[in-house]
């Protein structure tokens, strides 16, 4: 019996190990949202964040010294200066938006700089240089001056990982302002978003504004998500197909705010009590 087993393992060992490693990988994937795996994510996040922050500091140092040199050769670098002015205008626009948001928001906002981005296999995350120490917790919404960026997915002491709206697993309750229709915003194609579960009876036009809905438990209502670029009825589908251009430019975002929002406890309690009664 032992000999037979040894022979079998000798012949099929590659397949057995393949099956074991695949099972282990699938197990890890399925446990991505539980505490232990999130702990692993935080360890990785801390490591990369420190590395990225270090690289950013070094790059920042070199860019500053080169800027001083460029200023000394002012006349010879007029074109470069023009480019800088354009960059400053863009930064100014972003900062004005952030300032405006900060003045208007009734929820506490924690500012943070984007120190890392990762976009791979449909995953889309950004890393902020603020963490538990600053009061950030998992599931906090993250906003910029132009709209909703995403939801905090993991937090370490000094950094936080934000799942952006472009991530394949991102789901945010949203509302079409003009049509007063609720739906779900998910990642779409080519850096765009898509809005699902909107009945075809609602009149939706390109240019309509999409914002967060009061149905969301994580995000306060009224935060801009994007603008409808295309809305169509597909044959045999009870829902519209809606493409949404994100309000946030994820490729150039440099600063964001973590919003400390918690849904009114009374509403959550009422819903829980009602559900228990129904059971």
């Amino acid at each position: 019996m032992y000999k037979w087993l040894a022979e079998f393992f000798g012949l099929a060992k590659n397949y057995i190990i393949f099956a074991l490693l695949i099972s282990l990988s699938l197990l890890l994937i399925s446990t991505n949202n539980n505490g232990h795996t999130r702990g692993l994510q935080v360890v990785g996040l801390v490591t990369t964040s420190y590395l990225e922050a270090g690289v950013n500091d070094v790059l920042g140092y070199f860019s500053l010294s080169s800027e001083v040199k460029k200023l000394q050769l002012e006349n010879a670098h007029l074109i470069d200066q023009n480019a800088k002015i354009r960059g400053a205008m863009e930064e100014n626009r972003q900062l004005r938006g952030l300032l405006n948001l900060r003045q208007q928001s009734s929820y506490p906002l924690i500012p943070g700089d984007v120190v890392g981005r990762s976009a791979d296999g449909g995953r889309n995350f950004i890393t902020l240089d603020i963490g538990e120490k600053n009061g950030v917790s998992v599931n906090d919404p993250v906003v910029s001056g132009t709209g909703l960026v995403g939801i905090v997915s993991a937090v370490s002491e000094n950094f936080s990982l934000v799942r952006t709206l472009l991530d394949v697993d991102s789901r945010v309750a949203a509302k079409l302002v003009n049509a007063s229709a609720d739906g779900l915003v998910v990642s779409g194609s080519y850096g765009e978003l898509a809005m699902e579960n909107v009945s075809r009876r609602y009149p939706v036009q390109p240019g309509d504004i999409v914002e967060t809905s009061s149905l969301s438990t994580l995000v306060p209502p009224g935060i801009a998500i994007g603008m409808v670029t295309k809305a169509e009825n597909r044959p045999g589908d009870i829902f519209k197909k809606i493409d949404v251009e994100p309000a946030v430019d994820y490729t150039s975002i440099t600063t964001a705010f973590v919003m400390k929002y918690s849904r009114p406890a009374e509403a959550t309690k009422l819903e829980k009590e009602h559900l228990q009664k129904e059971k």
Binding site: L21, I29, S118, G122, V168
Partner: protein, 162 residues
Amino acid sequence: MTKRLFGYIALSIAAIVLQKFLDNYASIDSISPQLIILVAVYMSLREGQLFGMGGGFLVGFVNDLLVTHFIGYSSLLGVIAGFVAGFFYKEGDVELAATNFNFAWISAITIAVTQLAALPIIASGELNYFYVFLKFTVGTTIYTTVFAMIIVFVKGRKSRYV
């Protein structure tokens, strides 16, 4: 063997760092070359299927920790890549399989199979499977194969001058 093992560790670290860089600066609509798969293919072609699978799993796991932040995803790709590439392993002909143009087409086949296997995970919650297939399976296969060909080309040129 110990020397080669350190070589693979160094190669894996370089690939993970470069993967992070490519994800940040060279991804086209969330598509970037999958260097982890190329490392697993290389290890499998040089050392055999078992080593490729184990190495692919470990490199993928570290890549998940440091780059994708989605634990288990790259490990799965690494194991499948090591397994598939292992079928092209020839014990007496290691150099032929792992260093010349064969590396590029073996990588292309492996990436295509790997991305097809990962399709259900990538497309979770997505209704338009065909779009996800075109974007992630075909897109990643082409992008990574181009990268593999560049590596083969650069390596070929370097060895010509040595």
